[in-house]
């Protein structure tokens, strides 16, 4: 590549600003889409993988394995059935079980899920590389109406230790039945984990019982039948059921045996999953869609380049004179070819850079939404080797799509020589 050629290509592109900018915009958008698909894919995978670390088994009511994984760990979707407290007590006593953390889902606080659990949650739950949860402020709940909130809950709602909050029945931001007769006190704020824990409000299992103690078949108490918070304290708040149980084993070797034992449990239809294995099945299941999305984004990139080729071909006729002048001052046909390839490659390189920049802008804009809707953190991070390779391919594709008009120009300049009649 020689310098005069590069400067010629640059000046020629600047001369056709409007076309160049439109071409760059079209390709940059397609590049953003291409990288976005990849970012969301890898972000979801990493984030989900980070969330299940350290739990050997998850036990829930018999149903879909992936469904159990999604609602118990990622707080996506809802359980169709619960596990009886009795089954949980029996399971917890098995000799292979090192620890077990029951969770009870179904309530919400201003769009954040409420998790009824035990203090063991803060002790045993792991995320990322088997890191334990830690507290930014306060500590695990002690009183019946204490709540421990995740980092996002604290940040988005501006809560600090000591604030009073009211839970609502049912998940979702617009849950109407509120438990306003039994307010909670924020007792602890967890440090950020990048997992759905950040978006959870944790209370004790007994508290979940307490706020529903006067409810009848899932309906709020009729007037005159309400039980006050103080009265609830005096009642037996033994949970009757939990949604799922996270289980840690003394030895990994036992995982398959315990899983089998849960799945063949005679007294209740239960399901135990190995979270890592089920997560893999989830990815296998949506792998086809990932491929389809990737294929679509590749098609969009290709469309962008076809547009560029069309524009370049269209300009070829009016550039015939220019090519003849270049030939007359000694440009070789090969250099004419290179000039057009460099122009296309240059446009593609700029488009790739702009596309990557737009991606980060997009991530920055979409992150809160993704975090709140899907509970995973979109990583900004640098470009991975794979993404850089994709960008490299985009630039190569740019050069390749410049090759057709370049070849035509090459052929013409051989035939025309320096004599083009206008």
């Amino acid at each position: 590549m020689n310098a005069p050629l590069l400067s010629l290509a640059l000046k020629s592109l600047i001369n056709r600003k409007a076309t160049a900018i439109l071409t760059i915009a079209a390709i940059a958008l397609s590049v953003t889409l291409l990288l976005g698909v990849e970012k969301v894919r890898s972000g979801a995978r990493d984030s989900f993988a980070n969330t299940v670390s350290g739990t050997d088994l998850i036990v829930g009511a018999r149903g879909g394995a992936i469904q159990l994984l999604l609602y118990s760990v990622f707080r996506i979707g809802d359980a169709s059935n619960n596990i009886s407290w009795q089954s949980y007590e029996e399971l917890r006593a098995w000799p292979e079980v090192a620890w077990s953390v029951p969770i009870s889902l179904g309530d919400a606080h201003r769009g954040f899920r409420v998790v009824g659990t035990t203090a063991g949650y803060f002790e045993h739950l792991r995320y990322g590389r088997r890191q334990a949860l830690s507290f930014d402020a306060g500590q695990p709940f002690a009183d019946l109406f204490d709540a421990v909130i995740g980092a996002d809950v604290a940040r988005e709602l501006g809560y600090v230790v000591g604030d009073r909050i009211v839970l609502a029945h049912g998940a979702g931001a617009f849950a109407v039945q509120s438990h306003d007769d039994k307010p909670f006190t924020v007792f602890g704020v967890l440090a950020r984990t990048g997992t759905p824990v950040d978006r959870s409000v944790h209370v004790s299992l007994a508290a979940i019982e307490a706020i529903h103690v006067d409810w009848q078949s899932g309906r709020p108490p009729r007037p005159g039948q309400a039980v006050s918070a103080e009265a609830a304290r005096a009642m037996a708040l033994q949970p009757k059921a939990v949604t799922a149980v996270l289980v840690g084993l003394k030895s990994r070797m036992a995982a398959f045996a315990v899983q089998r034992r849960v799945n063949t449990y005679a007294d209740e239809a239960l399901l135990a999953i190995l979270p890592g294995v089920t997560l893999q099945q989830l990815w296998d299941a949506i792998g086809g869609l990932e491929k389809a999305l990737f294929a679509i984004s590749v098609m969009v990139v290709v469309t962008g380049f076809m547009g560029m080729t069309a524009v370049s071909l269209g300009a070829l006729n009016e550039r015939r004179r220019e090519m003849a002048i270049l030939r007359s001052v000694g440009a070789r046909p090969r250099e004419i070819f290179l000039l057009l390839v460099v122009e296309s490659g240059g446009l593609a390189a700029v488009a790739a850079a702009v596309g990557a920049a737009m991606l980060y802008g997009g991530i920055w804009l979409a992150r809160p939404f993704v975090q709140s809707q899907f509970g995973f953190h979109l990583p900004a991070g640098g470009l991975s080797a794979y993404e850089l390779a994709l960008l490299g391919l985009v630039v190569l594709a740019g050069c390749a799509s410049g090759a057709l008009p370049a070849y035509l120009a090459y052929r013409r300049s051989l035939a025309d020589g320096m004599a083009v009649r206008r």
Binding site: V40, G77, R260, V277, L282, I286, F369, F374
Partner: protein
């Protein structure tokens, strides 16, 4: 971005719904019974390695009814002998220094759809269980599973692996028979 994430969510929920019942029972002992498909469970903790395999009778001996004659009985006995030969079924890396501690194989009639064991079994399965103690478990990166070579009826093995780096699901085929830890 929104659309992307939305589509991912749709995919997840569809996947959850679609694969629900199948995935739920797949891990159950006598759940899914698909000819050509075997399941394998491998766990490695400290120096201890255990592998359990379940394969449909059809893929091991070519029939699943109770043995009708001496030839079929002999066939089952030979298959059990072969399954019990851990050295023939797996290639473990020498460097790991693994010593076989147990290897056993049995044939079992499967519960039918109604959960009752069928006496005149329509479906049978072979079970094999192997254990090793390894001096250098960190050298156990991959294990070559040789079931495909001995039992051509097996086209695919769904493997669940628990190792030092966590849990994974792997799919083994005659083309890629390596179990990864």
């Amino acid at each position: 971005m929104r659309i992307l994430v939305g589509m991912t969510l749709i995919a997840m929920t569809t996947a959850a719904a679609a694969s629900g019942p199948a995935a739920a029972t797949e891990r159950r002992e006598h759940g899914a019974h698909r000819h050509g498909h075997a399941t394998l469970q491998a766990a490695l903790d400290g120096g201890q390695l255990e592998i359990a395999v379940e394969a449909p009778g059809m893929d091991i001996v070519g029939f699943e009814h109770a043995p009708g004659d001496d030839a079929q009985k002999a066939k089952i006995a030979a298959a059990l002998r072969r399954l019990g030969d851990a050295g023939a079924m797996f290639d473990l890396p020498e460097a790991a220094g693994c010593a076989l501690t147990e290897a056993e194989a049995e044939q079992e009639a499967l519960a039918d759809a109604h959960g009752q064991k069928a006496d005149a079994a329509d479906h049978t399965a072979f079970h094999a269980h192997y254990g090793w103690t390894c001096a250098k478990p960190e050298a156990l990166q991959t294990i070559r599973v040789r079931y495909f070579e001995h039992f051509p009826g097996i086209a695919e093995i769904d493997a669940a692996v628990i190792g030092p780096s966590g849990q994974t699901a792997q799919e083994l085929t005659p083309q890629s028979p390596q179990l990864q830890f």
